[in-house]
Subunit: 393 residues, 3 copies
């Protein structure tokens, strides 16, 4: 008996249960049904697979960048002594990670020493006598710590004396045109090595099919030389829609975007970088403060008698930020199943919609309803079709 029950249960597990169906030879609803199916299929094949490549797993790019600027210039202006500039002079700091800075304009204040000197004239620093100055006062908009004395700045102007690096920097007049206008013709070699760790793919922006002799003389051009990793600075600016000479005066930030979005299903060897350029700082003066880009640094010297002096340099220039982004995509089972599942569910939704149309909008809806839907009458325990009753059922 037990054995029989067990067998019966096992038999039950391997019985196949399928739903009973009704075929309705209505061309109208049939066309709607097939057309809807076609639409979903087109969405899956066209949009999901071809355009969005949603069947792919994604991995963000991991990147390492090195840069090497080349070029030199000779400046001979009224602002400074004649001077020759090479890479060690105008690239500050000498090596960066994902950015490099090229000095284009400069305000130098040489031979500063720790001492006392009169403040630069301004409404808050001018004084009549010592009572206007407060010893130890530290005005954030000033240049140093007030000593409490009111001294002659010039024959006609008196200002408070400050403890500071003297002489004070005068940065109201920025040389124009920019001192190192010639920087426009400098070139930069950008080497970029990337990894998609999930797919164990490594690539470089110097592509394997490029040889050394080409690299020695090529120059990037979006249409003729899109693979050359050597960029002329003025071309970067013009690609970004800016004028290098304008930017050079007060400085700015240019973004060099390297897009490594890749379809790795076709093999890593078909994964190429795409370069684009955009100005990153705000040149609109309305909602801005400290426009352009500059920073101060100093070169320190020791006089023979051991006193420290420095040359303060307010460096205006263009910072080039190399921004590497993108994701690699490769066929993955999980996203494929997910998108397939979603599409199938939408397919499965179609009969529900068609049934609704069938039972509410079609002229023969009563006929369809009678044959499709059985209404269980619990009272007499007999199923009855909906609508009019039909002879033997």
């Amino acid at each position: 008996m037990t054995k029989s029950a067990g067998f019966s249960c096992l038999s039950c597990v391997f019985d196949y249960e399928t739903s009973k169906t009704l075929v309705i030879p209505s061309k109208g609803i049939g066309c709607v049904f097939r057309f809807a199916q076609l639409l979903v299929l087109l969405y899956v094949v066209g949009y999901v697979c071809v355009m969005q490549k949603a069947y792919q797993e994604r991995d963000p790019v991991i990147s390492s960048v090195t840069t090497k600027v080349k070029g030199f210039a000779y400046t001979n202006t009224s602002y400074m002594e004649p001077r020759f500039w090479d890479v060690a002079d105008y690239v500050i700091p000498p090596q960066g990670e994902n950015s490099f800075f090229v000095l284009t304009n400069v305000i130098m204040t040489p031979k500063q020493i720790q001492s006392r000197c009169p403040e630069l004239p301004s409404p808050s620093t001018s004084c009549v006598d010592d009572c206007d100055c407060f010893e130890g006062h530290n005005d954030p908009r000033g240049s140093g710590i007030q000593t409490g004395l009111c001294v002659n700045y010039s024959a006609t102007v008196q200002t408070c004396e400050v403890l500071s690096w003297c002489p004070l920097e005068q940065d109201t007049m920025v040389p124009e045109p920019a001192l190192l206008n010639a920087a426009a013709d400098f070139t930069v070699l950008i080497k970029n090595s990337i990894t998609y760790p999930k797919f164990k793919v490594n690539r470089r922006n110097i592509l394997p099919h490029i040889n050394s002799s080409y690299l020695k003389k090529c120059e990037f051009n979006p249409s003729t030389d899109p693979d050359c990793p050597i960029f002329r600075l003025k071309n970067i600016a013009s690609e970004a829609g800016e004028d290098f000479q304008d930017m050079a005066v007060k400085g700015g930030i240019l973004g060099i975007f390297i897009d490594w979005s890749c379809d790795l299903d076709w093999g890593a060897h078909r994964c190429f970088p795409k370069y684009s350029f955009r100005r990153l700082d705000n040149k609109n003066p309305v909602n801005n403060v400290a426009p352009g880009y500059n920073f101060r640094f100093a070169k320190y010297y020791q006089t023979p008698d051991g006193q420290e002096s420095r040359t303060l340099i307010k460096a205006y220039g263009i910072r080039f930020d190399i921004i590497v982004f993108g994701t690699g995509g490769k066929f993955g089972i999980v996203p494929t199943i997910i998108n397939l599942g979603a599409a199938l569910t939408i397919l499965a939704l179609i009969p529900a919609v068609c049934d609704w149309i069938l039972l509410t909008c079609m002229s023969k809806r009563d006929l369809y309803k009678k044959n499709k839907v059985t209404h269980l009458n619990e009272a007499d325990s007999e199923p009855v079709s909906m609508g009019t009753t039909y002879g033997t059922q």
Copy 2:
């Protein structure tokens, strides 16, 4: 004939096949069914759409940061000569990418030259005679290459002589309180430009509705001025739950987190940065080594006779790391379909569960089963209802 078959097949394609259904007027199972549907609907609308915004495509933020520190200080302590400090002195290096370092404490060792001098006294460097010292020995915990001589360090102590930059640095005593305590009142202007490349959206942390005059005098405050990009250093520390004066002694790392998580469906103009602050280094001395943050660098000088000397600086200070993160989200067809599909599948699961309840738990289960399920009897090729047989079927 062929034409007829072709027509028949075409007709077959456009026939509409729908499942036969049985309506059971049971309020119990009906309520369970509708309630389960309602729950799934609430999950989809409430959690998936409103809370998780799972219908959106996402793109990680790409960022470029510039910083500008302002402030100066005058120090007059027993550790050092009186000195005036400005930005060029205490921000090292003068420009960084996503971080800036503000010097707060310093151990200076001026006038070092390449020569020979006795090691600093310690159990491993003290000696009695030359036999205790080994020429060329390079002890990683020492300060230089031993010459093999044992010389007087002081009147009472003898140590091995080393080849090194002499005089040696003595860094056991860190000035306390920190030399540049005044750095607490310095301010920093942070400019941050971001991009969501997939959505072609660019934003800046200086919002378009902020004007220059406000920017010139504002200061960040999480409740009153959450949009001002100028931060007072001591406020950054206190927002991170730290005391600036404490951190200043041995240095540390403070993270300035800028969260650009944005719902771009409402337009890019409603995408704002949110600032938060946290200490990043470990102040717990138990599982730590080299607590705080410091690094050594040197200023090199040349004496008039051409010999190189340097001032070694062990710089303690606070490194501020500006960490920009977040994802932009915008309505996308693929994620919408996927989430809709998943929800519909869960909806489609409900009838299966209800059927199971219907056929096993309900009192009238035999009646339901008889009407719902037909058992095919292969022997006589006639279907029979399950349970008791009922008249004509």
Copy 3:
């Protein structure tokens, strides 16, 4: 009447509609059906849940890194005066963000001043008389601005005179073996603090169970000390499959990859970093330009009479890029529902396939078709079974 209609409609909402089904006691199709279900179940449990952890939400890691190099060396070669090197001499810049550079080889050009000197001999710079040189000519491959004069470079060679920092650098001969070979034995302490902002999890690479005394003497070893954050430079190179001494001559870039991929469902305390190492620059000379890694910088001095001189340093060395990556994963309702939904949809696909097998491949297909599918004959408004007609239906 209205009340009755309203009640009827409400009753209609809570009526339960279920599909009529047919049970077919065919072991063949039953086995196929159950086996297919089992396969889908195995995929969901085994691949989706256990291997891919697709039920998890993901958050990319946010990281902050500090490094501290230790070690010193004494060099005594024919290329340079004997010299002692410590951290302040060979780590340039003294502090970086996610990378540090260790100088291993150097070409120094001391006592450069702004003046005029003959070009280095090369086919493009050699001249016979002044007519071969052009005043103001700026040859990118040269070393300065030509003055238009042809002068003696040596007793036998004449080259164009240039305005430049003189004497010119001669970098054709790179010292070999590398000057700072001893850098192989330097060590670096890497501190890495990470955050998963979505899950509010913070971790450090110095794990909580590690104590200070261990940290003071440990050294990273992938098999014996995988948690020690102190790395010997030559070991980094050998783990990356490179020879440190080879790399030291012309420089290069080594990536230190820290993988923070974590399953946070088990708690943040089980989230550990995994280190790996790889050379990032291209050592293949075929499709390369400027192999190795070097940059130029200068130390500026002032002679007692106020003239500026500099020591130009072409620094070859190894840049170590610390690349932190990985995602944290934690159980999330949305991805769980999505994967469950996708799996259920695939499950729902099985009956469709089985039905197709049933109605086309099985020997009793006509019997099955007759019982399963009812064909609506619109003409006489009576449903007829497909295939042969059977008595009363």
